[in-house]
Symmetry: C2
Subunit: 331 residues, 2 copies
């Protein structure tokens, strides 16, 4: 459809300069709220539709970021990725970007989707979540010089790319020290099977804090897949052993809520889900909104940097945030 | 950046026609998987970046749909909107659309964001969630002739626009009949404060099923805001009354999980959250993925219809889906 409404018409209606209208369309974050509202109202009243490609040619970017969402799994930790996504969308908007979602069953399908999104929508950058050992996505994007940030460390590889993460081992160490201070000596750990970067990291924090307190860890940990029944079974198994723990640090609220049914021990979960709050479970809280905001800031900087004449290659930005312990009546 | 790679280059590399490359970019859903993969691989290898505006001019659409996400609230029902969002993104992709997210603190801010998204990204349509009495968003979009579908009925207004919803009263009626069949006669209801379309609808299903079974309802219902502690308190209050119920139908799993702590009665929740599954709570399950798919189908049809020469106005499509009861050991 041909469109007779131009930037000039919009500028006259909103009583601002053409440059201001252009800013609202291309860099809304630099325009005052009140002015932006007036301009967008004029745009809407007049039915002006931006020419996406014109902006793309002019600014060299689509102002769209891509992120994959996953089907919620067993357990209550879905709430964390919810908070991340919300934080990401908010932070993106405040930097003048929007977030496009996609799903992908595995890494290979995700890389195919990168292709489709780059070719069809000219996305500016991606945020990668659920990083893991053997993750090929970062290398794929680097080969094609597509900007990205990982939420999660690049487990098992040495790379120079951007990442933002929360220090999980600091979280389980905090939980362990809290239990030591409360007088516990036999503090157990319920974690996930070996080979998950996040799970191994959370185990390491407990081991380190136990060593720091000169407490033995032999026979005090169990590894199981995430689940309520699994948490309960693993806790019962530990409590049945030769050295039953008097307290448990868990790699997730799901494991902790299951373990709680085994009864009789102090318990700390991980992720401070709504169920932890509702049931009085102490839990390690990740600053997920801060992590999301850091992902967007790192990307916005990278995209700005790349547009400068003669920009040289940059080394990746790394942001590691510290979680906090929320103490409730389970400890 | 000037781009020397053209559709012709891509077509040669992938050994397909230029039309096929164009289809992959503009209507990917009509291209066979294997061919699409080959073309997107060629696009990526060659570094081809589509001209968004060219497509927009040619096809009259951006192939972007907008949806608001909300911060997870108290309780466990966040998992339902997660399933909806995932279903929406999947269904959109299979129709050749992508989903752009935004947040908004209230309806007024949401309408401002509609403006920004229409002017800056030329979104094709919106999916509205969390419909409520006095909802002004539909009227706003209709005045500007922007296609949309509501997930949720237009409570309290007579309108002709598209909506998709799940029949909540059918769900609570199912739950009530199940309890009647199990021999219960004093079946209570825990619901939300009057004035929420969804809450009033769920209450109505229980009332109707009780009337059908010729059972009295006086003194058997309580209304409270959603929360575990609130569910527990309301259940205790009912159980303390003159006619203590032997079973409870609840408007949410959160209320049901709280009520369960009051003990001693059969309980059915609503939304079949992961916590219901983990703790053996019977619950009403909404076909949320089907609802999301229906939202996209309705919009895709509407957008296709509008592009036909001489297209006339259409009456809104309405899709009301039926939930199912998942029976576990709480009943």
């Amino acid at each position: 459809m041909p469109n007779k409404v131009t930037i000039t018409t919009v500028a006259e209606r909103a009583n601002v300069s053409r440059q201001t209208v252009s800013n609202v369309l291309n860099a809304p974050e630099i325009v005052r709220d009140e002015t932006r509202r007036r301009v967008t109202q004029a745009i809407t009243d007049l039915g002006y539709r931006a020419n996406l490609a014109a902006r793309q040619m002019r600014t060299g970017r689509s102002r769209l970021l891509g992120v994959r969402i996953d089907r919620a799994r067993v357990g209550v930790e879905g709430a964390v990725m919810d908070r991340f996504l919300h934080g990401l969308v908010d932070a993106a908007a405040s930097h003048g970007y929007r977030v496009v979602l996609f799903t992908a069953a595995d890494d290979r399908r995700e890389m195919e989707t990168f292709s489709e999104l780059l070719s069809s929508y000219a996305l500016d950058a991606f945020v990668l979540t659920h990083t893991h050992y053997g993750d090929g996505r970062a290398a794929w994007l680097r080969r094609r010089d597509v900007p990205f940030t990982m939420f999660g460390r690049p487990w098992g590889t040495r790379t120079k790319h951007n990442w933002v993460d929360v220090d999980g081992s600091a979280g389980t160490a905090l939980a362990t020290r809290h239990l030591v201070e409360a007088g516990h000596r036999r503090i157990g750990f319920l974690g996930w099977p070996a080979g998950s970067g996040v799970g191994d990291d959370r185990l390491a924090g407990w081991s380190r804090a136990m060593a720091d307190a000169r407490l033995a860890v032999a026979g005090l940990s169990r590894r199981t897949i995430n689940g309520f029944a699994e948490g309960r079974a693993a806790a019962l198994d530990l409590l049945d052993g030769r050295r039953p723990p008097t307290a448990l640090v868990c790699a997730s609220d799901t494991l902790a809520l299951g373990a709680r049914e085994a009864g009789g021990v102090a318990i700390v979960g991980f992720d401070d889900t709504p169920m932890a709050e509702a049931t009085g479970l102490s839990s390690v809280r990740q600053p997920v909104e801060d992590a999301a905001a850091a992902c967007v800031e790192v990307l916005a900087e990278e995209l700005d940097h790349r547009r400068r004449p003669g920009a040289t290659a940059r080394t990746g930005r790394r942001v590691l945030l510290t979680p906090q312990l929320i103490i409730r009546n389970s400890t």
